[in-house]
């Protein structure tokens, strides 16, 4: 048919486009400012131009509290310095990581295309950090996370994590440590020999359940059942029945609400589980909506990053409350505060001032942060290792008993402390 002619022309254009694609790779924008001074590029700020730090956190959807908490912490860190550094105002550019890979990629793309951005604090979720670092690392950007915990981003059992990239650091603990902490508590402190794990199909919870299982088995315990629920499930009784039938003495379910709510409420109805089994969750459940609103959580144990107990932290909480009208809503604000301060200190150290102009070398910045040693932060004494783990990880196990009336009380009811 005659139509084939012009359709063929279109096809030709298509092929030409593909060729155009092959021929037109441009270098990552980070290298734009590349000079002999710094192989990864530099950021040059004229007089009065702001030092821009990107903040990529989960600020919408189910995980909004996780991200919002950290954004606020970063804002407080900026306010603590009077909003400026080296005579330049500090500006924050907030992006949403959507707690998943696709949104994380978009956010990272947005950030990386702005060559004036000096560093990144984020992401909230490990799933978003993986593709984000694939974009940031070759562009010379540095990212410090206050809440990524997945081992693949730094190291697992001494081996480099498969998603590890240069320029990535974190002040939050590695999941393996929390898994070990919970397992040690269960095995040594509670004397439990048989445990079951439940995850909910989220990479974080699956990773944590795996870490627990591994450590528990290393200690000599037996994992009688490793199972999972699906978000949206409301009837947990079948799963609980299976767990009961497997003979578990403790159930470790480091998942989120509302599935955790159903588990806790329905556990009492399932024979073989109600009075005998011990329930243990993780930091995803250390919030008032779980602990305070659900009476059945009484008696439950929770593992999570330790709430700092020093004067500086109390000052921080006071500032937080004054500014935002409520106590910190999640568990990683202090980590992000430390992350931001490490970044700002590093900028201060490597920036070269010339008249009113500030020049910051990206490579120098990365090296400076990597060399962080014995830094006194809210979360402890931080030292960055070769894989980017900078945390001084202390995992606490707390319990919600009758005596505790609020989430703050629960967090203070520390039964066990674990250091790496």
């Amino acid at each position: 048919m005659k139509e084939r002619h012009w359709l063929r022309a279109l096809a030709l254009i298509a092929v030409l486009a593909m060729v155009g694609a092959a021929c037109s790779e441009d270098t990552p924008t980070g290298g734009d400012n590349g000079t002999t001074e710094d192989p990864l590029g530099t950021v040059t700020l004229g007089e009065g131009e702001p030092i821009t730090v990107a903040v990529i956190q989960s600020i919408s959807g189910d995980t909004a509290s996780l991200g919002t908490d950290q954004v606020r912490a970063v804002e407080i860190a900026v306010a603590d310095r009077g909003g400026e550094l080296l005579g330049h105002p500090i500006e924050l550019q907030t992006e949403d990581d959507g707690c998943e890979a696709s949104a994380g990629t978009t956010a990272a793309q947005r950030v990386v295309s702005d060559t004036q951005i000096v560093g990144v604090i984020g992401t909230s979720c490990s799933g978003a950090a993986v593709p984000a670092m694939e974009i940031f690392s070759p562009a010379g950007f540095t990212m410090i996370s206050g809440s990524n915990t997945s081992p693949i981003l730094t190291q697992a059992a001494g081996e480099e994590g498969i998603a590890h990239q240069d320029g990535y650091f974190r002040t939050a603990h590695n999941d393996q440590i929390q898994g070990a902490a919970a397992a040690t508590f269960a095995f040594d402190e509670l004397g439990v020999a048989k445990a079951a794990t439940v995850h909910d199909g989220d990479p974080y919870t699956q990773g944590l359940a795996d870490a627990f299982a591994k450590s528990f088995q290393e200690l000599g315990g037996e994992i009688t059942l490793g199972t999972a629920v699906t978000p949206g499930d409301t009837d947990m009784r079948p799963v609980l029945t299976e767990i009961a039938a497997s003979g578990a003495e403790l159930v470790f379910f480091p998942i989120f609400q509302p599935e955790a709510d159903y588990i806790v409420q329905q556990a009492g109805e399932v024979e073989g589980l109600g009075d005998t089994a011990i329930l243990m969750g993780a930091d995803g459940l250390l919030s008032d909506t779980f602990v305070e609103d659900i009476p059945e959580t009484e008696g439950m144990y929770f593992s999570g990053p330790a709430t700092p107990n020093n004067l500086r932290y109390r000052d921080f909480v006071a500032k937080y409350e004054t500014e935002y009208g409520e106590k910190p809503i999640q568990a990683f604000h202090a980590h992000s505060y430390d992350a931001m301060n490490i970044l700002l200190d590093a900028i201060e150290a490597v920036a070269v001032e010339d008249g009113g102009t500030l020049t910051i070398g990206r490579g120098a910045l990365r090296d400076e942060i990597a060399g962080t040693s014995e830094y006194e932060g809210l979360t402890g004494t931080l030292t960055c290792d070769e894989f980017g783990d900078c945390a001084d990880p202390v995992i606490e196990v707390v319990q919600n008993t009758e005596a505790q009336e609020s989430i703050t009380d629960v967090k203070e009811n520390v039964l066990f402390e674990y250091r790496a």
Partner: protein
């Protein structure tokens, strides 16, 4: 409308003396006012007005206020619309009655709003409605005391709605230009980041400074200038455009075809140059749009051409992505052959086709609605299987497979947005061509026959089984290709990327863009995937807007934004006939009276 019909025509109407018609329907105005009031209350209660107050749209007029202003103007305009002219009744001239109708809209709507504001400032409802905060009340009363504040709110509603009604006083042709100008001003204001980036890259920074204020809002002068330009251009070109269209339609087919081809080629070349203008981030957005467009082209075949309502389309996307990841990534759990993209593509596409046939076969004998639910089920099944602990040794469970390398063409690695854009662009053109080719082929005709009426098609000898399976298979092919591209772009394949919302999003793209229309799919993808990335403020209300948009589109324009000629005919036959008749009657009448149309 009932009030207009109260006076039926008695016998044959005489030549020029017709029955008087009501210029406006006051009852309708009241109803529109009530709807407007409820809408304003609703938008305030969900916190939209308050959230949007943070964004300045046009120099200190915040987006939050702007929404209310727009609502007032719009409702005033709609409420004051004269009822359609019926044969035998006089044409009405716009005038004071329109203003009156606008006033009524404002009265009713304003009263409702004022009542609401009074109520929530007296009673604290924040336990139940967390978004109704004192800040919102402040906004609505202009931060004044209750009494004067309520009066202010009421007064503004009244004024805005009257102005909306007054828009009817503008002569019709000029009115269109005014609306276009308003649309452009709002669009340019909302898409500030997009326009700014483009202007800067095009070295037109001065223009940017003229249009926008430093905070990112459109400046008054910029808005005024833009509006004026649009109106002038529209007026000047308006007539010319009409004649141009007529001339083109009058051309013989070969010449017309050459014109279309030329236009198409120029358009495509313009598109090809787009990334340089848009910068890396926006190009990346376009890449995402492109991937969704490829998926939508496939679904367009299944739903549009073949009429099979598939709600689980994301399953094929997932199959493509996971197969690619399993074959290409060094971290693939079970076996990692680490094949290069173009080699891995073959088994990926084969798996896609197999998945299409596998899902298509059980549903062969099922009716349309059952088909929808069962395919939805299959979509969920696929995601759950990829997520499951059971298949974790192959697919990584909840953590998926990471580290998928980028596509390489020979020694070149397509890792930058620009390179990826050209590839997607080429593929999109290719697959669009394939869609057209399929549509005009024997298979395509069997699809259309089956879509129209399956029983009849069967009776006429069309092999409906082959048609259905081929539709599923080819749709799956497109989707798995898109999945492969997605995997190499994001480099991580996780189950949470393949939820039922993605299926529905692709379906919405096909529907809103235009069912069975290939350019419609492109427009749909751009609007529904591209725009949300650029308009970040609306993120929280994204699905609310999607939902409202769907309902609106189905009620007003079910054929989509760019309808395919055939589908539009099916869906709008009667309506169009009626509209045409009305228009004819109006035109004939006006020409008889010597007025311009």
């Amino acid at each position: 409308m009932a009030d207009v019909l109260e006076r039926p025509a008695t016998g044959a109407p005489p030549e020029r003396s017709e029955l008087p018609a009501r210029p406006v329907s006051l009852r309708r105005a009241a109803r529109v006012g009530a709807i407007g009031g409820v809408a304003a209350v609703f938008l305030s209660s969900i916190g939209m007005v308050e959230n949007f107050d943070a964004r300045e749209l046009i120099s200190r007029l915040s987006l939050g206020y702007f929404i209310l202003v727009g609502l007032g103007l719009g409702m005033g305009y709609i409420g004051a619309t004269p009822p359609p002219r019926l044969e035998g009744y006089a044409t009405t001239r716009p005038g004071a009655p329109n203003l009156l109708a606008g006033a009524i809209v404002g009265l009713v709507g304003g009263a409702l709003l004022a009542l609401f504001v009074w109520f929530v400032s007296v009673v604290d409802v924040r336990d139940i409605f967390p978004n109704i905060s004192p800040a919102m009340v402040e906004l609505l009363t202009g931060a004044r005391d209750l009494g004067p504040g309520l009066l202010l709110a009421f007064g503004w509603s009244l004024i805005l709605c009257v102005v909306g009604g007054a828009m009817h006083l503008i002569p019709p042709r000029f009115r269109r230009s005014v609306f276009r100008a308003l649309g452009w001003v709002v669009g340019v204001a909302l898409l500030e980041s997009l326009v700014t980036t483009t202007l800067e890259r095009a070295q037109l920074g001065r223009l940017r400074d003229f249009l926008y204020e430093p905070v990112g809002a459109l400046s008054y002068t910029g808005a005024a200038a833009l509006g004026a330009i649009v109106i002038v251009v529209d007026q000047v070109l308006g007539r010319r455009r009409q004649t141009f269209r007529h001339r083109v339609a009058a051309l013989p087919w070969p010449a017309r075809k050459r014109l279309y081809v030329l236009g198409g080629a120029i358009g495509l070349m313009g598109l090809a140059g787009l990334p340089h203008l848009l910068g890396p981030f926006l190009t990346e957005v376009l890449n995402l749009v492109g991937i969704f467009m490829l998926m939508a082209l496939g679904l367009n075949i299944v739903v549009g051409f073949a009429g099979l309502l598939d709600l689980g389309y994301v399953a094929f996307f997932a199959v493509g992505a996971y197969t690619t990841a399993a074959l290409m990534s060094p971290h693939s759990p079970r076996f990692s052959p680490e094949l290069p993209f173009w080699v891995a593509l073959v088994p990926v596409l084969v798996m896609g086709v197999i998945a299409g046939v596998f899902i298509g076969t059980p549903v062969l004998r099922m009716r349309g609605d059952y088909l929808a639910i069962v395919t939805l089920g299959f979509g969920e099944i696929t995601r759950l299987l990829f997520l499951s602990d059971w298949l974790r040794p192959y697919f990584g469970g909840a953590q998926g497979i990471i580290g998928v390398p980028s596509i390489t063409i020979g020694p070149f690695e397509l890792s930058s947005p620009l390179a990826f854009f050209y590839m997607i662009f080429g593929l999109a053109v290719l697959l669009a061509y394939a869609s057209y080719a399929l549509l005009n082929s024997r298979t395509g005709r069997s699809w259309i026959a089956m879509r129209e009426d399956e029983t009849v098609a069967d009776a006429m000898g069309v092999n409906t089984v082959a048609a259905k399976l081929s539709a599923f298979a080819i749709g799956a092919l497109f989707a798995s290709f898109a999945g492969a591209l997605f995997a190499t772009k994001i480099h991580s394949v996780v189950p949470s990327s393949f939820t039922v919302e993605e299926s529905i999003l692709v379906l919405i793209i096909v529907i809103v863009g235009g069912i069975a229309s290939v350019p419609g799919v492109a427009v749909g993808a751009l609007a529904l995937v591209g725009l949300p990335e650029v308009l970040r403020e609306f993120e929280e209300y994204r699905f609310l807007v999607y939902g409202a948009l769907l309902i609106f589109m189905m009620l007003k324009r079910p054929a989509g934004l760019i309808p395919s000629r055939r589908r539009a005919a099916e869906l709008q036959e009667d309506e169009e006939a009626q509209d045409a008749w009305l228009k004819e009657a109006t035109k004939a009448d006006e020409t008889a009276r010597g007025e311009p149309s």
